[in-house]
Subunit: 340 residues, 2 copies
DNA sequence: TTGTATGCGTTATCAA
DNA sequence: TTGATAACGCATACAA
């Protein structure tokens, strides 16, 4: 039979209330008693029973507040779907999810949205802009006892409790492996960056280049450009790249703007000869895959990211530990045409 | 606030016990009362609270009995690891997991192992041999109120509650896509079957051939052989295949025996020129991948299969519905060298 | 500083 | 055939 608060209370010769105070650091316990209780809890290997906790806290509502740069970004629709499914599964336990959406990555805007929650949330679940303003805000919330979990993007050197998302560096490595496989390890490659200011994009490129240098000397980089995650800009810049380096026969698209870049390839009339590798599988990318242009795409399991993030937030609220390194990695997923 | 048994009891003017008897079909309720209770439950949209259930059933031990052909099959080690992790997470709720291992696919042996559990289990979790004997056994258990969940392999036309595992046909399709990508869509292909008697293996081959015919006319099949999932046989037959059809420069290995087949390739001194696509990522396969022989492998997420199966078994015991089609698909996962 | 009582939603046991 | 009541493990308001 498992170890309960009741049992610990009996064995250490105190009341259940006292054990609860010790184990949840509510204070008002003499040092001697505290030591004794901790010792027995440790010795017996106490682990709190989730069902019991869940049932008892149900009297209160627990609010998960979320701020996402999801406006106009179909990738985030899947993340939100996962979050909502998880929240519904937890509605039994009094969980309520409140999502605030924003467009783009303006730190000031994001800070304002966080403030709008004020003290009404129990946990913050956020795709943070990498900015000191946000860093400080997260730390301030932590002081007030509101933990933050980052989703899809991390923000280092902050007091966030944990990060849920993919390993971007490894994603870049895998992308390189797939591009090499699709081209037979020999290509003239154009690189279409999203934004060199976005950490995840740079990490992907780093991973890609590492494998390229290490294993594929016959893949030459012709040119590089940036889309700023915008299809129109992507279209324009890709067209210019293809004009300037007509020998290009492969493209590595690091972030959003896949549709624009592919349209440029098609307009250029070279879609039969060009091999494209991308990230994520938003509908327009799948379309380009069915057309035979995109040969492989590396996905981040956005649904799983959202789903797991909410579940982890709740578990954390219930007192469950997060991984020691504060990272919950959602695996990169290779997809080719046959997967759809 | 959510709908509880208590609330239903109050509204329909009966006691909680009566509502419980109606909703859980325990009988001993007059028809009039039953109708009334069901009606209000329906009207209010009652959904049982999992935490409450979990807490309450803790008084009993719930036993999940499992029979797996895991003996000498490293693939199943991962499945068992997932099962054990899930069972530990559920130990709070009185879940106990009991695994019986067997070697190979003898239906008689399997039936005997199931019988050894007798009435001591609450759920059967099994990788069934596709045989009428087992089919009947599953149906008999269902009659006695012991539900069966199939894991990794399904057994059709039986009263099993649900199947947890991969889509083998789709796995074959994806394997073909990867092999085509790795060979540039042009190859002389040897096919190494596991056993044509195993349903999953045939399905993989069917999926593979479908895509091959549909999209890759320049991949020619030189020869086919069977390994019976044994490395020694695989070694021997592959060697003969390579001798008989020396033009072979690609291998599709449908099931176990990867290590044996690869050793034959290496012994033949042609490992630099042959492209191999396999299933699963047992240690010896990863080794062959690092050597550059195996170019891609399609995995079934065995850990997840085991983990999910146990969780689903428990949820089902608690009254949660399974998907309408009775299938919980665990996705195929493409892995290349860079994934490790 | 410590102990006791009550309730969360469900199931199970007795008594009626 | 029904109803009342006591668990399950935890949190908490209140009493001591």
């Amino acid at each position: 039979m498992s170890v309960t608060i009741k049992k610990i209370a009996e064995i250490s010769g105190v009341s259940r209330g006292t054990v609860d105070r010790v184990l949840n650091n509510r204070g008002k316990v003499s040092e001697a008693v505290e030591r004794k209780v901790r010792e027995t809890a440790q010795r017996l290997g106490y682990t709190p029973n989730m069902a019991g906790k869940a049932l008892s806290i149900k009297k209160k509502e627990i609010v998960i507040g979320s701020v996402l740069p999801s406006e106009g970004n179909p990738f985030f629709y899947e993340i939100m779907r996962g979050m909502i499914v998880a929240a519904n599964e937890l509605s039994d336990y009094g969980v309520r999810l409140e999502i605030k959406k924003m467009r783009g990555y303006d730190p000031e805007k994001q800070e304002r949205l966080i403030d709008e929650f004020s003290k009404r949330i129990d946990i913050l679940l956020i795709t943070p802009v990498d900015d000191d303003r946000i860093r400080e805000k997260i730390d301030a919330l932590a002081e007030c006892g509101v933990p933050t979990i980052t989703l899809n993007s991390d923000i280092c050197d902050s007091k966030r409790v944990c990060y849920v998302g993919s390993d971007y560096f490894k994603g870049g490595e895998i992308a390189c492996g797939m591009l090499a496989m699709a081209t037979g390890g020999r290509a003239n490659l154009g690189i279409i960056m999203g934004s060199s200011k976005v950490l995840g994009h740079s990490q992907r490129l780093d991973g890609f280049m590492k494998i390229l240098r290490q294993r594929f000397p016959d893949i030459r980089v012709t040119g590089t450009t940036e889309t700023e995650d915008d299809d129109i800009i992507a279209f324009d810049r890709t067209r210019k790249l293809l004009e300037r380096y007509p020998q290009t026969n492969a493209l590595f698209i690091v972030a959003a703007g896949v549709y624009g870049a592919c349209r440029a390839v098609i307009d250029n009339g070279v879609d039969k000869d060009i091999c494209v590798v991308t990230f994520d599988d938003v509908p327009s990318t799948v379309e380009m895959m069915e057309r035979g242009l995109v040969r492989a795409t590396i996905c981040q399991q956005p649904f799983t990211q959202g789903y797991e993030a909410v579940k982890i937030a709740f578990d954390y609220y219930l007192g469950k530990k997060v991984p020691a390194d504060g990272i919950v990695e959602i695996e990169n997923e290779i997809k080719i045409m046959e997967c759809f």
